[in-house]
């Protein structure tokens, strides 16, 4: 009789262990590899950083013109920027990013072209985004040391490009683009950069959003292009 009870107890505990094992295996099968490795799903997590951060998820795009102060006359420069987090981005403070910085001064001056890949980025999402879900600031860092890039040769030793942008409106009004050139190696926070060019954009727009799903459900349909003077 006692032996029969013992057998019953062993059988019951085996059944419980089997069920527990099945549950564990089922969770493992259902969990994606990215989740299992602690990677970040930008769609699932759209936090609003309150300051520029190398860990904040975000996307920066923009195109337009900016005025560059020069002697004897100011110069107009066009810019195009893209920045986003790479696949499997890990929030470990390094701020890795993908994208590109293009900058073209429309004058016959030295170092008027910039064409560099973005390798680091810091993002700050607006705590009061526009109806289109956009707004904020970003700092894109481009790598001048990679093959095929174009950066100014003066002053000597330029290794990285720092672009700072602000998205302050859906129409581009009060958006900001500034670019400076740094002699330290690319990183999320370059320290030895020269005086920045640019400022409030002349035409165009900067867009900063949490993810690519933060689309444009209500693109501006009102007049937005400012009056231009040659």
């Amino acid at each position: 009789m006692r032996q029969h009870r013992l057998v019953k107890r062993i059988t019951r505990s085996r059944a419980l262990c089997s069920i527990a094992a099945v549950v564990v295996v089922a969770f493992g099968a259902a969990l994606s590899s990215s989740d299992a490795q602690g990677r970040v799903d930008p769609l699932a997590q759209q936090q609003a950083g309150t300051q520029l951060s190398p860990d904040t998820l975000g996307i920066a795009t923009g195109g337009g013109t900016v005025k560059v102060t020069a002697v004897p006359v100011d110069i107009v420069a066009s810019f195009g920027i893209n920045g986003k987090r790479p696949p499997g981005f890990v929030q470990n403070g390094t701020g890795t990013a993908l994208g590109r910085i293009n900058y073209d001064k429309h004058a016959q001056v030295a170092g008027r072209h910039v064409n560099v890949p973005v390798t680091f980025m810091q993002v700050e999402l607006s705590t009061n985004p526009s109806p289109n879900g956009m707004g904020g600031k970003a700092q894109l860092i481009g790598d001048c040391t990679q093959a095929g890039t174009e950066c100014p040769s003066q002053p000597p030793g330029i290794q990285s490009v720092l672009v700072y942008v602000e998205d302050n409106s859906d129409t581009g009004a009060n958006d900001v683009f500034r670019i400076s050139f740094c002699t330290d190696a690319p990183s999320a926070s370059p320290a030895t950069c020269g005086v920045a060019e640019g400022g409030a954009i002349r035409t165009g727009q900067i867009q900063i959003r949490a993810s690519s799903s933060g689309g444009s459900p209500a693109v501006p349909t009102h007049a937005s292009a400012p009056r231009l003077l040659p």
Binding site: A15, S18, V22, A26, A29, A30, L31, S32, S33, S34, D35, V40, D41, L43, A44, T61, G62, G63, G64, T65, V76, A77, S78, F79, G80, I81, N82, K84, P86, P87, G88, L98, G99, R100, I101, N102, D104, H106, H113, G172, T203, G204, Q205, Q207, R209, S212, S213, G214, G215, S216, V219, P220, T221, H222, A223, S224, A225, R227, L228, P230
Partner: protein, 163 residues
């Protein structure tokens, strides 16, 4: 009998969990998108190019857009074309566009679609809400605003990178 019931129970548990917590590993890939196009460039129109009776001389543009594998896209484009009016006055035409969809073409160019604002630069108020189609590539840019295609601006300076 107990073994059969246990097997059935295990199967039900596995299926239930798989349904409740579906695999979502593809979401990050969708966010990354397939390509990005970036440009800042300038060019000179060929002789005879015109738009809305403005004889076009040259232009500049800045572009930043990210295209996902679904065809959805985000970004902006700004283009300024300079020209001369019928009475000989210098005129600057400005196009600001929001990109909402796009595709990468086999020749390395991209086709972007969205909504734009057109400022003719003649003192009249800018017109918003115009359908926008942009074809941009290493050789230049062609913009269609509100169904009217502007002459192609060949790129003679700067960069347009599709990657």
């Amino acid at each position: 009998m107990k073994r059969i019931l246990s097997a059935l129970l295990a199967t039900v548990v596995v299926l239930s969990i798989a349904v409740v917590f579906p695999r979502q590993g593809n979401q990050a890939e969708a966010v990354v998108g397939d390509s990005i196009v970036t440009g800042a460039a300038a060019g000179v129109f060929p002789a005879g190019a015109s738009f809305n009776s403005i004889e076009l001389a040259g232009g500049t543009f800045g572009l930043g857009a990210q295209i996902s594998s679904t065809g959805a896209a985000n970004g902006t484009i700004e283009a300024q074309f300079t020209g001369t009016s019928l009475i000989g006055l210098s005129q600057w035409i400005t196009i600001n566009g929001w990109i909402t969809s796009g595709t990468s073409n086999p020749d390395g160019s991209v086709t972007l679609n969205g909504t734009s604002t057109l400022d003719m630069g003649d003192g009249t108020p800018p017109t918003g809400g115009l359908a926008l189609v942009v074809n941009a590539g290493p050789t230049g840019i062609t913009i269609t605003v509100g169904g009217t295609t502007l002459p192609t601006l060949p790129k003679s300076d700067g960069w347009v990178i599709n990657e």
